[in-house]
């Protein structure tokens, strides 16, 4: 059993502390686009990171393999690759196995090997509830059991590219310019108590969920102990991991819609709840009573994405920045408005959402172009 926490958190701090730049772009009409704008935007926020982590998540990445789980796996040794591949062969049907294309760049030193696999699951054979549950367990097994290996991503029709370096350097290294997707998230990291480790960079992924995160969650101890009660083990000791597991619990296991999940992670104040209509009061009160331990307290901005949806959320008193921009069917989320304006100078709308107010972009509800932009007024089609 390898100890991920020792790798990701070598000084055994209570948890890993970091801060960051985040950027997300989604074409809510589902049209795929190249990542040059995203790379330019995240590079514009260079100073929000310190070169110890960067990465990209792309959705709609592998339309030709849309029914396969796409595994991006990092290896630090040849032995690890052999071991993981034999593990995969035993437990899955591996359709395609190939190296993720990279190019040599001066900025990226000692990169690990990164391979991708398109995989099918025959879950009945393993007597599991669902393919997803089966995949989650196998990913955990690789991440915690097989030395020198780490699964970057494991969702369908999506993939994560990340590592140690500035995000624009990693984009160059991973030849990101060749990919297209309808939803991109990007992250530049500023860890303060961990040396760079490729697995520790964002986006953080499980299945097709990714989280990029800026902030330090002061309620981490409470959140983590609550999630442990549901069998989640926070091996990475990062806030991001807590966010990802909380989302997985609320949405996948407790079947709550994303808007309700956002109300749990960043709930209204008790006083505000008392001022709502009775029906809403009842719901909001119940959410805090039952899920109080999942309130993410302290400064954070997260951009959470999964197939067909991108959600931006800040803590309820907005201690970390988030700016929203829209143009046509495009939705942008960013730490800084300048990064959005750089790649889309003629935004129809740009605004800063209220603390705790989720911004959801969804393929099911594509944005409709608007003519007039009034500063500070939220777009009526984005909630």
């Amino acid at each position: 059993m390898k100890e991920l926490s020792k790798i990701n958190n070598p000084y055994s701090e209570g948890k890993v502390i970091d801060a960051c730049s985040i950027f997300g772009a989604m074409d809510t009409s589902g049209k795929r686009f190249a990542g040059d704008g995203v790379i330019k935007a995240i590079a514009n926020m260079h100073f929000r990171g310190n070169g110890l982590g960067g990465g990209f998540a792309i959705y709609g990445l592998y339309p030709e393999y849309r029914e396969h789980y796409a595994f991006h796996i990092m290896y630090l040794s040849k032995e690890a690759k052999l071991e993981v591949e034999s593990f995969l062969e035993q437990r899955f049907r591996v359709e395609v196995s190939e190296e993720v294309p990279t190019r040599h760049t001066p900025a990226i030193v000692n990169p690990p090997l990164v391979w991708r696999y398109f995989i099918n699951v025959d879950a009945q054979k393993y007597d599991f509830k669902s393919d997803d549950d089966y995949v989650v367990d196998r990913v955990m097994e690789i991440n915690t059991g097989i030395k020198d290996s780490f699964v970057f991503s494991s969702g369908k029709n999506m993939g994560v590219f990340k590592g140690v370096g500035y995000p624009e350097e990693l984009a160059e290294y991973f030849c990101i310019e060749q990919y297209e997707g309808y939803l991109w998230t990007a992250h530049g990291r500023f860890p303060t108590n961990t040396p760079g480790w490729w697995g520790g960079a964002h986006p953080f992924n499980i299945l097709d969920w990714t989280v990029i995160h800026n902030g330090e969650i002061s309620s981490y101890g409470t959140n983590r102990r609550y999630l442990e009660g549901f069998g989640y083990h926070c091996t990475m000791q990062t806030d991001t991991e807590v966010v990802a597991y909380a989302i997985d619990l609320l949405i996948r296991r407790h079947n709550l819609p994303i808007e309700i999940a956002a109300r749990i992670l960043a709930p209204p104040f008790w006083d505000d709840i008392e001022r709502r209509p009775v029906r809403e009061q009842k719901l909001l009160r119940a959410l805090r009573q039952v899920y109080g331990s999942l309130l993410l307290n302290g400064p954070f901005t997260v951009v959470i994405a999964h197939q067909g949806e991108m959600i931006g959320l800040t803590d309820r008193i907005r201690l970390r920045p988030l700016t929203v921009g829209t143009k046509g069917s495009m939705l942008y989320l960013s730490s800084e408005e300048s990064a959005i304006r750089l790649v889309c100078p003629d935004l129809e709308r740009a605004w800063i959402p209220m603390g705790g107010e989720p911004i959801v972009g969804s393929l099911e509800r594509p944005l409709v172009p608007r003519e007039v932009a009034i500063a500070g007024e939220p777009h009526p089609d984005v909630n």
């Binding site: 801060a19 101890g221 409470t222 609550y226 819609p257 039952v290 109080g292 331990s293 307290n297």
Partner: protein, 501 residues
């Protein structure tokens, strides 16, 4: 029989200041001060003074001071003065030594070995003077998860009754009889003002106080004193008392001297009779019996109130607590080694039970391991002294704390440990009508509400410093605690890391 017991305190009277007004004589309930008619002088005698400071604080000319008598024994670490004097008392009385208040021995106080965290640089602290800061807590059983109607977004999950408190500090069980009606009224009114709860203890609820029912926890103990349908209906929470931190395994003892006419009516027992609660509840000899009483009370109150179960913190608290939750308790109360009493055998008070910090840590951990922590609120009692202790208790995993001694100190108590005598000079732990009027409920309620307000403000400062703006984010957040001067085993049980790590 001549007593061999040396006096404990010496009263110093400054003759320059004393105006012989005899206030000290009137205030002292232990006959320490007297008027010597022959010499026309007010004097004090050693031997009866209990160190309650009543005379010192009420002397209009500040002529009095009380000091420990500097009578030294030959040094002997084993035969310390307390043990010698206890033997003398028993040799002269042949009885069980009674005492009041909580364990005063030097067992490690873990609160003093735990320190709290604060935000610096990587996350901002929050200023409670400028930002909202939430202490609101709901007591009661919570469901495992919530179901929402997909179309209407309406809540589909049914909830067990919840009781809202605005500060996670409640007044613990102190029975009418042990304390006076004026004390009860002070507690009830302060709890109402502060938006928290007070607890009747096992002696029933005086009719005058039914109006504060919304902020009242009523107790059902082994003696069943004062328990009837209206009593249960009046309250917000019903608490079954199994045990008490000051005397685990022993029932409540109210000497007949304290059973006045009013106490007798409220308790539904004859005036002047000793009210001795049986050590166990005689309908609870095992955990399934507890489940029956819990559900009987739920039936009796039509499932409208949380049912609490209170135990003394003992060696296997974690397993017992788990059983209590599974038996249907909506709130469990742990009363620790330093929990107080109006009367208990001294040998029990000083030697039985475990520190509340350890009990809390292990119970919270166990309930989480078993996935049932959400099914009951955890409340602790026993020696909470200030808001720092409260914050540490919440971080270890408590939903709220009970205070008893701290509340009585706010009313004037100086911990002289004479509660069992019924002669409390502060008028707190007595039913003597000439003494109980020393507590004015207007002033008492004000002092108690002030205390809660002060602690609330301090808790908000502590939370804000940590960068947290809701109490639930501190609950069970042991990463915000660090230990100092503790062994590895102690740290492991507390689930806390050493300071610096």
């Amino acid at each position: 029989m001549k007593t061999y017991l040396p006096p404990k305190f010496i009263v110093e009277r400054d003759p320059e200041r004393c105006i012989e007004c005899e206030v000290c004589i009137n205030q002292c309930t232990f006959d320490t001060h007297y008027y010597d008619a022959e010499d026309d002088e007010v004097r004090s005698r050693e031997g009866t003074c209990v160190g309650c400071h009543r005379c010192v604080l009420f002397c209009p000319t500040h002529a009095l001071n009380v000091r420990t008598i500097p009578l030294d024994y030959r040094d002997n670490y084993n035969w310390r003065p307390e043990f010698i004097e206890d033997i003398i008392k028993q040799a002269e009385t042949g009885g069980v030594l009674l005492t009041g208040m909580g364990n005063d021995k030097g067992y490690r106080i873990y609160w003093d070995h735990l320190v709290l965290n604060a935000s610096q640089v990587t996350n901002p602290s929050i200023d409670p003077l400028r930002e909202p800061m939430e202490l609101t807590t709901y007591i009661g059983r919570k469901p495992d998860k919530i179901e929402v109607d997909a179309d209407s977004s309406n809540l589909k999950t049914d909830f067990a009754p919840q009781v809202r408190i605005e500060v996670p500090v409640m007044f613990t069980a102190m029975s009418y009889g042990a304390v006076s009606l004026n004390v009860h009224e002070s507690l009830a009114r302060a709890a109402t003002e502060a938006g928290t709860l007070w607890n009747t203890g096992e002696g029933g609820l005086h009719p005058k106080l039914y109006q504060y029912g919304k902020n009242t926890i009523v107790q059902v103990a082994s003696g069943r004193f004062g328990v009837h349908p209206e009593y249960l209906d009046a309250a917000s929470i019903v608490e079954i008392k199994i045990g008490q931190g000051a005397k685990p395994g022993i029932g409540g003892h109210l000497p007949g001297e304290k059973v006045s006419a009013d106490v007798s009516k409220t308790r539904m027992i004859p005036q002047g009779t000793d009210a001795l609660s049986p050590a166990p509840q005689h309908d609870i000899y095992s955990i399934e019996d507890l489940a029956q009483l819990v559900h009987a009370l739920k039936e009796a109150t039509n499932y409208t109130k949380p049912i609490a179960v209170k135990i003394a913190a003992v060696h296997n608290s974690a397993a017992i607590a788990s059983g209590m939750v599974r038996a249907g308790a909506d709130m469990i109360v742990l009363d620790g080694l330093r929990g107080s009493t109006g009367a208990a055998p001294k040998i029990i008070r000083d030697n039985v039970g475990i520190p509340i910090e350890m009990a809390l840590a292990s119970v919270d951990t166990r309930l989480r391991q078993e996935g049932i922590r959400n099914q009951a609120s955890v409340v602790i009692a026993g020696g909470i002294r200030n808001s720092g202790d409260v914050a540490k208790a919440i971080a270890l995993g408590a939903d709220a704390v009970y205070i008893g001694t701290a509340a009585l100190v706010a009313l004037g108590c100086c911990l002289c440990q004479q509660c069992h005598t019924g002669k409390c000079a502060w008028g707190i732990c007595t039913t003597d009508l000439s003494l109980t009027k020393r507590i004015n409920p207007d002033i008492g309620a004000r002092r108690l509400a002030n205390l809660l307000r002060g602690w609330s403000l301090e808790l908000k400062e502590i939370l804000g410093g940590m960068g947290i703006n809701a109490l639930e984010s501190l609950r069970g957040n042991r990463l915000h605690l660090r230990g100092i001067g503790l062994t590895d085993t102690e740290l492991e049980i507390l689930g806390v890391q050493m300071a610096g790590s």
